[in-house]
Symmetry: C2
Subunit: 347 residues, 2 copies
DNA sequence: CTGTTAGCGCGTTCAG
DNA sequence: CTGAACGCGCTAACAG
């Protein structure tokens, strides 16, 4: 077998004695072709192992059938879920998905967005790091729509789909208040993301509504590592007046809290009631099962993809002057499990 | 601001009073350009918001700087880890990564590989479903190298990088044997993947070496869902002669086993010693901490990417006649934790 | 129903 | 050090 090069549409056209246009139309079903020539084309294509080049096609159609997904970390189960959800939705449209992990670094976010811009993806789904990057304007200039997921961008560069963090933080706190807790702590990452601030705001709001003067030292922020979360929890529980309940504002925090409880040999919920943000299978399997706030991941994906499609198929990104992008806020669900106890009134 | 279209290399050339060739060379640093014109070009580019089109570039260079990664499921933490590792390695080369989840369905695998083929990715990393797909030959025909990860392809269509499943299965079983267990069960998915068969083979080998006549009914295979794993475990533990130790051959199995233990109120390791394949943070945090087999994920990624790069930069896929592709087998690590107890001789 | 042809935006010879 | 011109593989007008 001699070194056969990859064959092009022209090779097929020659082999089938038709024009390249006909071949194109056979493959794209974009205008009627007589059955005879159609078969001839398909035969020739099969013989030559022909596969149309999406690159060449993209050059003329100005569509890549690809979208970029920029998240903090694919390894984080929450984002893995987002990616999976988006992939399934896009799959049906023949679109593929290039994934990028920023590790919460604005430089990496900018780098990846530039990459996606050069590749001329049809659109991007971004969980922004929070920095106000010039690349957002560039994307807009190049008519590449962006939809923000999970967190709000620093400026309204596009529609946003997020969990109702305020309400979720409120609901979790309220749930604990209803069980008699007054000294409730919350542990989150030390970062100005809308997720964090929202959850903390809901927490404070619930306390205020219950006429509890919030103790600022019970709202703890740490670096986004399990170890930091562990140390933060240890410090919290070592106080003379430790909290009776604790909310972990994301999954990494949850791991740290559980590690701390284990290290101290503290029992949950007898010695500390606990609510975890981000639900995962294992939370239901430990002793005690952990109460958790579950994101509406499927809805987030569906909504984000819908918005992106609308922007991609619709006219331009900027409709008339300054567009007013929607912020879609989806409710989270509190999954009740055994990790929250009623506090005796006596306390 | 009027509707300004996206500017091309020609616009930049005009604006800078140079030829398109010069602009190209400025951006790619591919031949000396006088500092004056260089600046003029960069200025013009900045003014026009110019970004080179990777599509047009790919059409001439025949390189997309993109690789496809086909796995069973991005949501599976093992594969998420693979993707993250590969992404980090590729990132430094300016390559991006399109991810595809097959859900173990050969049709989906074929579909995605065709998609990647049309997109002319520089190479693919595949965790095959096990089916012998014609698309493998097509990839080869189109000189798109494939490297297989985690599982072996049905035919040697490319190099493979995998965990040493036999040794890992052997080590886990041996570990339990050393602690006095003789009735050891293993629970895996019901599927003819090299991962499963390897782990089961190692299990049988260890038993044979210990002169234990293996009880086939202790090697259980079920569908790859937590519920099926749960049922399988329940059945195993409901026997008149239940095993004293159990190995879960992957993470889904682990979830099912833990759920079953919880449902039965069985204590680990007092009533059942347990080893989990696939290590995750939470395994160390439950009571008791779960002994686990940890894959050398980082090494798998490094090795797979190295092999892929070699194939992409090297000449063609088929060097001389039938290439002989290596199968790289990387050792897993047994992480000792408290979930395995010594069995009293008396038993 | 089918063919011709002109780009799409870039890299890359070959001349100068 | 620079420019002109061709081609990558395909789609989209326009003819027929």
């Amino acid at each position: 077998m001699r070194k056969q090069s990859v064959s092009t549409i022209r090779d097929v056209a020659r082999a089938a004695n038709v024009s390249t246009a006909t071949v194109s139309h056979v493959f794209n079903d974009t205008r009627p072709v007589s059955e005879a020539t159609r078969q001839a084309v398909l035969d020739a294509a099969r013989r030559l192992n022909y596969r149309p080049s999406a690159i060449a096609r993209s050059l003329t159609t100005r569509r890549t059938y690809t979208v970029g997904v920029v998240v903090a970390d694919v390894l984080n189960p929450f984002f893995a879920g987002i990616i999976r959800g988006v992939e399934d939705l896009l799959w049906q449209q023949g679109r593929s998905l290039v994934v990028c992990s920023t590790d919460e670094q604005p430089e990496k976010e900018a780098y990846y967005l530039h990459l996606l811009l050069e590749r001329r993806v049809d659109g991007v789904l971004v969980a922004p790091t929070g920095a106000d990057l010039p690349v957002y304007a560039e994307l807009q200039h190049h008519h590449i729509p962006a939809v923000f997921i999970d967190r709000r961008p620093p400026q309204p560069w596009g529609p946003t789909v997020e969990t109702d963090n305020v309400r979720a933080g409120y609901a979790a706190t309220r749930y604990l208040l209803d069980r008699g807790h007054t000294r409730i702590a919350i542990l989150g990452r030390h970062q100005a993301l809308s997720t964090v601030t929202g959850r903390f705001a809901g927490y404070r709001q619930a306390l205020a509504e219950a006429d509890i003067t919030p103790d600022p030292s019970l709202a703890v922020t740490v670096d986004s590592h399990q170890e930091a979360a562990l140390q933060g929890t240890l410090a919290l529980l070592a106080r003379r007046d430790p909290p009776t309940a604790l909310i972990a504002a994301n999954h990494v925090m949850t791991l740290g809290v559980v590690a701390a409880m284990r290290e101290l040999g503290r029992q949950c919920p007898r010695e500390l009631s606990f609510i975890a943000f981000d639900d995962l299978p294992w939370l239901a399997l430990v002793a005690p099962p952990l109460t958790a706030v579950r994101h509406a991941t499927a809805e987030i994906c569906r909504c984000a993809v819908d918005l992106l499609m609308a922007a991609m198929n619709g006219q331009s990104t900027e409709r008339n002057g300054t567009a007013n992008y929607p912020i879609v806020t989806l409710p989270a669900e509190l999954i009740e499990r055994a990790s929250c106890a009623h506090l005796d009134k006596a306390c």
